[in-house]
């Protein structure tokens, strides 16, 4: 429970401040504050509630009697108040009497508003809200195109310095290193933490100041691999160190070396790393950029200089790129270099934008359906109230009071609709959060609260206007005696029937569009789940890092990896173990150039492939099939033989028409030796599930030593292996903690989650749309039939059978369908290319999907028609005619 407040709630203070007479504000507010302090000191509870009761009493008591007693103003206020109360009472009474109608409108509005509020909350957070940095619109991220590499979010350190030296373009150019693992030594255990190195100017450029301690200074940067000074994430400080303020200035042991915690970063701080979702980082370390130009692994953020724009900066940079390529022929080998700077926020939401756009369109369509629906209901009912209005006008009621009547009723209905919508939206958002964790940028930040209610209120206002003002206009232009004269025979006039049928038709057309979108997405998701990944993701993976001070040579570290692998193989239930530098679908990979032309200079103009270092046994553990040849032997691994394994697409591209590529030599970039192919494996969908991205080259770990991810295939529940694995690795004394236990299936799920989440959302929208348009048609048809009941009764009296009557009346619906379905199909087909990037494995305008969507809309509308028609057909002619 929250502690008892010392101050009245801010909202209460605000109200008192605005509504009390100026002369009494200090007296009253001060007294309430003082009494609250007395109550808190006396240990009394429910103080917040007490504040609100007092506020309400004071506002009612003091501001109501603000007006001098005998003034005409006060009489006016009283009369107006009386009239409002009376209108309110009348409206409530009438809506209670016609509760089916009221409930219908409220549900329709709620179902329309609910998904809209949830979706708008997400969009607002993800797309519209500024990043939590100072002046975020001036921040940009640098991507480069270099030869075959496109849109890469990492620079070489030399280029960071080059950008800094440009005159007047940037107020700051700061870089970060890729995330890495550090091992924190606590009293009894080794704990793996994630870390990122940043240049010392990064946080000042972002405008982020530590909540405790100090930011980095140049003096913190040491030319050694182990940092002396670190900044800590707020969450890590809380969870690992119990939010101990004494931690600042103290030394902790990272990777076996002491490092001083110089500061704690603000709560919720995340560093953008060129990925859609900023990863949580525990430790930030300072780094300095060098003039090296051999590794493009430093995501770089810039702040534009005052007065500069992204367009102008991007127009200036080609000159720099050209001069760099000339100045450093070794680094760029004459390849085309291009810097692209885009606003940070645009870069973050780039990948999710089409999905969110699709969802917004869906929400707007649903909202349009709901509004059309509610309007149709209100118009239908207003007709039945025509006589009521006419009578009241005839006996002298002012037009204003009728306007007030309609207004009050609409306000009541839309408020209830908004409340229901807010509740549904809250539920929806909570459900969405549980179903789809961490797939959207800033997903953690998406919260429900006042903003959703505000959205609901705004949307309800839209509801108010459509529901209230349109019928109002219809009612007020009516001539009273006209309605009085006309009996119910005239009430089914052609013009209103037509307008309602038009509304119903529009709903059917919109339903077709939504259903089409949902069907396309569901089919895409299904296709995506059926893609052959090229590996079996049912493996347990974990990361290891080793102390490279202790295992200095590649031979030593490679031998250690093999020992770990062999030790894990002996664990019960383990079937196969291997290791690889970058796991498939993990989002990170190394690329390298390759060629079969052994006279070529390796450079950026060569074709590129994904380059992986493996611990022998990897292919077996992943069930990646060998098409030719074999896996590396341990000896090849340890002695760093110049051997590689390639995937089928590289074999095809490098040696077209050659059946057996074993023994062929491939030249690699990065100063790696020319290597002999010993095996060919199947292609693995390692970057995207939907398509092949670059061919793949595998090398033994000994040739290019890195910290591996181990892949463990086991029978039974893999989770029970975590403990034994930790013990086993610890026994082998790597000096570092193991981390990141996960199933590879999680990577697969994450890679499809955006599509899956959007599919779920659009399906819900389409289902709501189908339901709403069925309800809408039901209401319209029921009303039409009611107004024609005299004709129906006469037919029935003359001997028409119920089935003949059903056929007769279904005709109306069918005619609407005949017009609405082709329009809906046309609109869906026209809009489909806009969302082509979301669709996978299905034609953009797939005829089967269009047909199915039309069928769904048709079934929904016929269901909506059939029920009232059945009831009308079962009419008792005597009763119906007598009521005329």
């Amino acid at each position: 429970m929250s502690p008892e407040p010392r101050q009245p709630p801010a909202a209460a203070l605000w109200l008192l401040d605005r509504l009390l007479p100026a002369a009494e504000r200090d007296l009253v507010i001060g007294d309430v504050t003082e009494m609250l302090a007395d109550r808190v000191e006396a240990g009394r509870t429910f103080n917040r509630a007490w504040c609100w009761v007092q506020t309400a009493a004071l506002l009612l008591g003091l501001s109501a009697s603000r007006v001098p007693i005998d003034s005409a103003q006060r009489r006016f206020v009283m009369r107006l108040g009386g009239r409002v109360t009376m209108t309110l009472k009348q409206s409530v009474r009438r809506l209670r009497y016609e509760w089916r109608y009221a409930l219908g409108v409220v549900i329709i509005l709620g179902v329309g508003i609910g998904p809209a509020t949830a979706m708008l909350s997400i969009v607002q957070r993800v797309l519209l809200q500024p990043l939590a940095y100072q002046d975020p619109d001036r921040l940009g991220i640098v991507r480069i195109n270099l030869g075959q590499i496109q849109n890469h979010p990492g620079l070489s350190p030399g280029e960071v310095i080059d950008l800094r030296h440009t005159q007047g373009l940037f107020a700051g150019v700061e870089a970060e290193n890729r995330r890495y693992e550090v091992t924190l030594k606590t009293d009894d255990a080794l704990v793996s933490l994630s870390a990122v190195s940043i240049t010392t100017g990064m946080l000042p450029m972002l405008g982020v100041v530590p909540v405790l301690g100090r930011p980095f200074t140049e003096g913190d940067v040491k030319d050694q691999p182990q940092p002396d000074a670190v900044l800590m994430d707020y969450g890590t400080w809380r969870s690992r160190f119990g939010a101990d303020p004494g931690l600042v200035g103290r030394r902790i042991v990272l990777n076996g070396h002491p490092a001083e915690v110089v500061g704690i970063l603000p709560e919720g701080f995340r560093l953008v790393t060129g990925r859609a979702v900023p990863e949580p980082i525990d430790i930030y370390t300072p780094m300095r950029v060098t003039s090296w130009r051999n590794f493009w692994g430093f995501p770089t953020l810039v702040r534009l200089a005052p007065g500069e724009t992204f367009d102008r900066v991007n127009a200036t940079l080609p000159g720099l790129a050209t001069s760099l390529v000339k100045a450093y022929p070794d680094a760029y080998s004459g390849a085309r270099l291009q810097f692209l700077i885009s606003p940070l926020k645009d870069d973050m939401v780039k990948t999710t934008r089409p999905a969110l756009d699709a969802a917004i369109v869906g929400v707007l369509l649903l909202l349009a359906i709901a509004m059309a629906n509610a309007t149709a209901l209100v118009i239908a009912r207003l007709r039945t109230r025509e006589r009521d209005f006419a009578v009241r006008l005839a006996v002298g009621a002012g037009r204003g009071s009728l306007v007030g009547d309609v207004f009050m009723e609409s306000a009541l209905l839309s408020t209830c609709g908004a409340l229901l919508g807010a509740a549904l939206g809250a539920l929806g958002l909570e459900a969405a959060r549980r179903l789809v964790p961490h797939t959207l940028p800033r997903w953690d930040d998406i919260t429900l609260g006042l903003d959703v209610v505000a959205y609901a209120a705004t949307l309800a206002l839209v509801g108010l206007f459509t529901c209230g003002l349109l019928p109002l206009w219809k009612a007020s232009r009516h001539v009273p005696w006209h309605a009085l004269q006309s009996g119910s025979i005239r009430s089914g006039q052609a013009d209103s029937a037509l307008s309602r049928l038009l509304l119903a038709g529009a709903q059917i057309a919109l339903t077709v569009i939504l259903a089409f979108g949902a069907i396309q997405l569901v089919r895409s998701a299904t296709r995506l789940s059926e893609v052959d990944l090229g590996f079996d993701p049912n493996v347990l993976t974990f990361r290891t890092s080793i102390d490279f001070q202790k295992f200095k040579t590649p031979a030593e570290s490679t031998a250690l990896f093999e020992r770990i692998r062999d030790r894990l193989r002996t664990l019960p239930g383990v079937e196969a173990v291997g290791g690889i530098s970058h796991l498939p679908l993990s989002g990170s990979v190394l690329t390298d150039a390759w060629t079969t032309d052994l006279s070529a200079q390796p450079g950026w103009n060569l074709a590129t492939a994904n380059y992986y270092a493996t611990v022998p046994g990897y292919f077996a553990s992943m069930k990646i099939p060998f098409l030719q040849g074999r896996d590396f032997s341990d000896v090849e691994d340890r002695t760093a033989q110049h051997v590689i394994i390639v995937d089928e697409s590289l074999a095809r591209a490098a040696f077209p028409g050659v059946a057996d590529v074993r023994g062929r030599i491939v030249r690699l970039g990065w100063g790696l030796p020319d290597s002999r192919i010993v095996g060919v494996v199947g292609h693995v969908r390692g970057i995207e599930i939907a398509r092949e991205v670059r061919p793949q080259i595998y090398a033994p770990m000994g040739l290019f030593t890195q910290n591996p991810n181990f892949t463990v295939r086991a029978s039974g529940d893999p989770a029970r292996l975590i403990g034994p694995i930790q013990t086993a690795v610890k026994e082998l004394d790597t000096g570092r903690a193991v981390a990141g236990f996960a199933m590879l299936t999680d990577n697969v799920a994450a890679a499809t989650s955006t599509l899956r989440s959007i599919t779920g959302l659009v399906s819900i929208l389409a289902a709501s749309a189908g339901l709403l348009s069925a309800m809408g048609l039901y209401a319209v048809i029921a009303y039409l039939l009611h107004s024609r009941r005299r004709a129906t009764a006469i037919r029935s009296a003359l001997g028409a059978t119920p089935s003949q009557l059903v056929r007769l009346h279904m005709g109306t619906s069918l005619r609407v369908l005949f017009v609405a379905l082709p329009i809906g199909i046309g609109l869906a087909a026209a809009g489909a290319p806009l969302f082509a990037s979301l669709v996978f494995g299905v034609a953009t305008r797939d005829p089967a999907s269009l047909t199915a969507a039309a069928a769904i809309a048709a079934v929904a509308s016929l269901a909506g028609t059939y029920l009232p028609v059945r009831r009308a057909a079962a009419i008792d002619p005597v009763l119906a005619l007598r009521s005329e």
């Binding site: 507010i29 007294d31 009493a57 004071l58 008591g61 003091l62």
Partner: protein, 114 residues
């Protein structure tokens, strides 16, 4: 500013007005919002509603029966100034009259006998 002339009140004091004036009289120089409410609570069994106290103060001041002055802002009051109340001679006169009225009404009456 010239004070409004003391005058005999046209309308007799209401019950709550009379109590508020008495509370201010009892408190002397300490008479301000919260102490007045506290004083009233101490001597009354019925709950005291804040708005009725403020309305009474407002009416009494309008009738010229009491005066008020603003004190310094106080942290305990959320930075709001305290307002001190004191009786005007007319206020004392009104109280006296009310007291007299009650005394003369009570004279010769005994609840035990009736």
């Amino acid at each position: 500013m010239p004070r409004p002339p003391a005058r005999t009140p046209q309308v007799p004091l209401g019950d709550i007005e009379q109590r508020v004036l008495l509370a201010i009289l009892r408190l002397g120089s300490d008479a301000s919002g919260v102490p007045i409410v506290r004083e009233l609570r101490r001597h009354t069994r019925r709950p005291i509603l804040l708005p009725s106290v403020y309305l009474a103060l407002r009416r009494l001041e309008a009738k010229g029966l009491l005066r008020s002055r603003l004190g310094e802002p106080e942290a305990r009051r959320g930075g709001r100034a305290r307002r001190h109340f004191a009786l005007e001679p007319a206020g004392k006169a009104a109280l006296r009259e009310a007291h007299q009225t009650l005394l003369s009404l009570w004279r010769g009456v005994s609840l035990d006998e009736s």
